[in-house]
Each structure stands twice: as structure tokens, then as C-alpha cells.
Symmetry: C2
Subunit: 399 residues, 2 copies
């Protein structure tokens, strides 16, 4: 029932994703008549979206003019995590020209965080990366009303509820801005330039401080009626499990994720159950000090050294994630599952356990051809997806 | 990113869903210029899809010609359940002109079942309901490759795997045919003429002999990459639960659904735990005979009479369905959940328990405006959806 996107949108996306293309090939690829194509090209040249750039190699007949995105196009991408800010500025082809990454606490509130974002983008301008931005894409770690461009009741983002993020960015930079959930932009990024390249129906599971899922269906992100589709961190996996920050007990996120793993690792170090973690804690200042903390990275190192408790912590977590994913696979019958986020560094021990549960517990028909794989883009998945959204927002306006 | 459907498709659907419409109103509703509309109408009249039918009441100026679907249009709908055949023949507006319902065991295989379908449709022709059919829609109780028009690895349908159902119906009736999963057609039916009217994103949960879910997203059914999306009956809800026909343990369907409830009701009757069920079994021929069986209807009657065990059986089942739905609500963030299938007759005791678990266990943001309601169409949901699919198949060919 769906029709293809408008010709100008397909043309601009093609140049973004493939680079310079000859007019002859554009006509073939977009199935446009020559006069129609020339009119589109002329219009987009006038709008300073594209330029003509020399002649293509001959395809046997006359040589055809090359067309490419305007070299002046600049997109900004911002990926706000619970504890981090990632910013990139790219050209029209989404190639990064500048990148900044730093720690930041999302709970500092929207004024402080967006001020810092503006400072990082000002630095890029001072460094000569851009004169003006053509579109901005930003991801935040909570539910978003995509239509309104605001966070909606985000549990770990005090002060951000319905804060006019899109409006402020649009005013600040005088260009289109798009706001989305951080896991959604990671899914879009992985589809653009990662392991899910050109896959239409897949789940991107982020296991970071918390746990979330980007749902990519029919070639686009599915956000749900309130913008919170994919918020799988609070699915109950143990009826008498530990208390969760959301007020329920036994949520996936309360049992596994960066915060839960840090808690369990510290307990295993203090009790002496894990010699590797105890030694690591000692090196960090000692169990006695009380202030030292362990992270997923310490558990990953311990597991690589063969520490039984570290391996068990990862496998227990993988089993819990796997049980939720088995349910979602039976429900959504996706083409692929991509595992990303900080805890993807736990690597193949985690992946093997997740696969084992998914393949055992889901419908055989749904898992027959189902790859469960690690993210290729890692920490760049989010900013990559944000530039895709930003460029689409600009291109859609070019009609 | 999606464009509206082609004008002729929107025109035909409008006449199907709303009845006769004046040309003037059609032009307004479809946003077509007068010459374009007249050309479309002329073409569809020539194709015998529509007719002009007198003059509309004046809207102030000249009276406009009324247009309606051709009165000769006939659609056949077939809803095959695990233990039943429902057939309807409708006119172009999907109003039933003949309906047949009878018991049948899907395990009899495709030849026997489709022969019986043909006999029922032949009866309708003999009775003068139609001369020829314009499209046929059929639903089957298992996964379907919608593109190929065949069942795919259906667990409870021996002999049906990749049986060319669509091809045979197309040959038999010389018209387009569409094959889909039974729960998908129920969801489509409920959206067309039931409680989910015009709702774009909702879940239709069928609790019959087994349990399944129709997923309606972005205005269409989501079928998954292998056609088995929504197959939620084999989601594990108890790690040490009873064995399921699929080979796993603790599946939702092994704990609740028509078959599981019949098993539990019989056990409660025989043990004497439920006086109401024991009395019912006695009336049916006695516990001693061993051949008598109880059904969901007996449990519903017992619950209405206040039998504690019957109420508990329903509430236990509702809790299990609710726990799965809570997960799916957090994942998909739908606008509505519709409960249908034979066990919907358990009514408000079941519904109250499902609601209680969904509202307690899902994200508050996702349940803020989430109705959980019973199907309005009941046993007619499936045939209604099948006629919608059949008519769409015909209309799409009318380009």
C-alpha cells in the first residue's frame, strides 16, 4: 500500500549515500524521464542543495554530467547518553569533519546540557568546520514525542519533560532540527552504515547503563503511539527480583545493564567470591575505602582472564536479555537482532548466551534465518543515525 | 515518508465503506480536480466496478450525480479455525448476503477442507446469491507467506505446509484471492467494523483453542519477515510449567487457552474441587464414563454462578495473558488492545485480570491512554477482515 518517496527525496538520499552520480545514471535509478530529471536537478541546484561537478566516464555514448550534494552542506549530530555527550559535524555525505565526546550527567538538566552542546558546536565553527548548519539531529535517553520534538516523561532526565529541544535548536541554528530517542538513532545509524545495512525489519538492543530497543519496521523506526515503543528495560523477568528505580521489582534493567552489573561486580569483589574483581577493586583504592567502583569493563577483563564469577555474571545477564528477546522475536518476527551499547564490550560470552536462549525459546520458523550480532558502529551508532535524521529533515523540506 | 494510496483505490474504498457518494463530494474527499475525477469515474464505470446512480440532494448549487459500487460485485470470505469453517458472501459494501458456519477439523487436510469450502460457496450460488465472485479472502490458523499465498510450517495444520491455497482459489473462481493468518484477518475485521474502527496501531489478541496476536501498525497488518509475527502462544510464561505441543515447557498456550482450560476444568471436576464443574460433568454423562469433556463455556457458567474454582481458573489465565501483554505494551506502545476469540466469552472476569496486570506492569507512559477491550464483532471478526482483504485485492487490480 506504500508508494515510494518523492523523486527529489530519493535523488538527494542517493547522492548522500553513494556520492557523485552521473545524470544518466540518476535518470535510470530514479526511473525519471530526462526532462523531469533535468527540471529536478535545475531546481535543486538553484536551492543550493546540489552542484554539477564535471563529466562522468563515458558509458559508451556521450559523457554525462556528474551531480553531487553541495560541498557546503553541514549537518550536526548530538547523541546524549545518561552520562555522555557525543557531537559530530559532517558534510552532506555524512562524513565526520569534527567529533567531540565527553562525560556529562543528563540529570544536570536541559539548560546546562544544551549550553554545553552549543559550546562544542561553536568550537567546530571557530575551527572552520562550518559557516552555518543545514540541519541538526539529536538523540536523548528517554521517550520522545517525535512529532512535537520534545522529551516526554523521561524517567532518568529530571527537568526535561516537554522541554522544547527542537524549537530551541531550530532557533539557535536557523535550520531544521529533529529530536529522537537515543536507541532509535542508534538503530537508524546501524542501518545506514553498520551491520544492519539495508535491512528493513530489525531490532537494535542497547545494553548500556539501562536497556532499550530500537524497532526498525518496514524501512523506518517504529516509535509507538506515545513515543516509548522499545522501552524494554522495565519488562519483568523475575517476579521476586530486585527493586527497580521505576518502582516495580524484577525489571530487566534491575537485573542486568551497566548499573546492575556494577552493583553485582562490587558485591562479588567485596565478598571475595571473585578473585579477579577483588584484586581490581584493591588496585582502585581498596574495598575498605568504600568509594571505589567497578564497571562492565572490569567484568569483561576478569572474564577474559577466566574468572568464573565474571563469566557467570555475564552469562546470567545474557540469559535474562535472551528471555526477553525470545518473546519479542515470537511477537515481531524480525530479520535481525543487533546488540549494541556499552555492555556490547562483554562480547561473545554475552552474545553466545543471548543466542542460546533466543534460538531455544522462540518459534523455529522465526529463528530459522535470524542473525543475532554485535553492533559494528559501537559508540558512533547514535551520531550516525542523528545525521541521517537531520539530512532527511533538510531533504524533505527541499520540495 | 509514506504517500497516500492511488486515487482509484481511495475512491473504491470510500464507496465500499460509506456507500453512494456524489461526484462533487468525491472530488472534495479525494482532492482530485474535476477532469481527473471524471476520467477516474468513467474508467471505473467501464470496468464495471462502479455505477452512476441518480442525483444527490443539492448542496446549494447544481445537483451532483451519485456514484456507488457496482451492485453486482460479490466477495467471498472464509475463516478457517482449528475446529470450524465460517463462510460469508457479501456485496461490494461487505454486507453479508449469505453466511454458513459449521464444525470442521483443520487436520482433515487441505483437500477435504477446501472441498467443503467449495461446496458451501456452490450452495450460495445455487441459492442465487451470486453469479460469479470478484475476489476471495481466506484466513487459516497458522503462519502464512502473504506474498506467496501459502501456509508456512503451520504447527496444527498437517498437510497444509506450502499448499497452494491462493492459486487453487484463483483457478476455481477466476478472480483474485488472498490468504492470511486467521488472527490477522480478525484484526483487520475489528478495525473495519468493530471496536478498533480507524485505530492505526493496536493489538488484537485471540484466545481460542490456542493464543495468537494480530499486529496492526501504521494502518496495516504487520506480518514479520516469515509471516509468523504475533505468534505469542509459545512465549514462555513459567520456566517449569506444563509441557506444550511445541516441545517446550511453560508456553502461554500450555497454561491458558481453550485446550488448557478444558484440561484444567476436567481435573477440577474430577477431583471435586469445583462443585459446579463436577455437577456439569455428571450431567454430561458422569466422571466415570471418561469420555465427557468440559469447555470454556462450562467454566464461564460456573463463574457466573459464583463457583470459586471457575473464577480462579479464569483469573489465573488472565494473569498469564496479562503478563505477556504487559511485555508487548512496553515493546510496541500500541493505542489499544482488543481481546477476541472463543475465550472472550469469559468476559469481564478475564478482562479485569488482564487489565490489572497490564496497567501494573507496563510503562505508565504506555498505559496512560490504553484501552483494553473485548472484541465487538465476536465470531464475525475473521470473515469481516477476509472480505476487506478480498475487496482490496480486487480494487488494487483496477488500476
Amino acid at each position: 500500500m506504500y508508494q515510494p518517496a518523492a523523486p527529489h527525496l530519493r535523488l538527494l538520499r542517493l547522492l548522500r549515500d553513494q556520492g557523485p552520480v552521473s545524470r544518466a545514471e540518476l535518470g535510470d535509478r530514479l526511473e525519471l524521464s530526462r526532462p523531469r530529471l533535468l527540471a529536478e536537478v535545475e531546481r535543486l541546484v538553484a536551492a543550493e542543495m546540489i552542484v554539477e561537478a564535471g563529466m562522468a566516464a563515458s558509458r559508451g555514448g556521450r559523457r554525462s554530467t556528474l551531480v553531487e550534494l553541495h560541498p557546503r552542506l553541514r549537518f550536526a549530530a548530538v547523541d546524549l547518553g545518561a552520562t555522555s555527550i557525543n557531537v559530530e559535524v559532517t558534510n552532506g555525505r555524512l562524513e565526520p569533519l569534527a567529533a567531540y565526546q565527553e562525560a556529562a550527567d543528563i540529570r544536570s538538566g536541559p539548560r546546562a546540557i544544551l549550553l554545553r552542546v552549543n559550546e562544542l558546536l561553536a568550537k567546530a565553527r571557530t575551527d572552520g568546520v562550518y559557516d552555518r548548519l543545514d540541519a541538526v539531529g539529536i538523540g536523548v535517553p528517554g521517550p520522545v514525542s517525535f512529532r512535537d520534538g520534545v522529551p516526554v516523561s523521561p524517567p532518568i532526565m529530571p527537568g526535561w519533560d516537554r522541554y522544547p529541544v527542537r524549537e530551541l535548536l531550530t532557533q539557535e541554528y536557523g535550520c531544521p532540527a529533529v529530536v529522537d530517542n537515543d536507541v532509535n538513532i542508534m538503530a537508524i545509524g546501524e542501518r545506514h552504515g553498520g551491520v544492519a545495512h539495508s535491512v528493513d525489519d530489525f531490532l537494535f538492543v542497547k545494553i548500556g547503563t539501562g536497556v532499550g530497543c530500537g524497532i526498525h519496521l518496514n524501512g523506518g523506526v517504529f516509535r509507538g503511539v506515545d513515543g516509548c515503543a522499545g522501552d524494554i528495560g522495565h519488562i519483568q523477568v523475575e517476579s521476586h527480583g530486585p527493586a527497580c528505580s521505576c518502582g516495580n521489582t524484577g525489571c530487566l534493567e534491575a537485573l542486568f545493564g551497566g548499573a546492575a552489573l556494577a552493583r553485582d561486580a562490587l558485591a562479588a569483589a567485596r565478598s571475595g567470591e571473585s578473585p579477579a574483581l577483588a584484586a581490581r577493586l584493591e588496585a582502585l583504592g581498596g574495598a575498605a575505602s568504600g568509594g571505589a567502583t567497578l564497571t562492565a569493563r572490569d567484568v569483561a577483563i576478569g572474564a577474559a582472564e577466566g574468572d568464573i564469577t565474571c563469566i557467570r555474571l555475564i552469562r546470567d545477564g545474557g540469559r535474562r536479555v535472551g528471555s526477553v528477546l525470545a518473546t519479542l522475536v515470537s511477537f515481531a518476527n524480525p530479520s535481525m537482532i543487533v546488540i549494541g551499547g556499552g555492555l556490547a564490550q562483554l562480547g561473545h560470552v554475552l552474545l553466545a548466551e543471548i543466542r542460546s536462549v533466543v534460538y531455544r525459546r522462540s518459534l523455529p520458523l522465526a529463528t530459522g534465518n535470524l542473525p543475532v550480532v554485535l553492533s559494528e558502529l559501537g559508540s558512533r551508532a547514535g551520531v550516525t543515525g542523528a545525521t541521517v535524521l537531520a539530512s532527511d529533515a533538510l531533504f524533505e523540506q527541499a520540495s
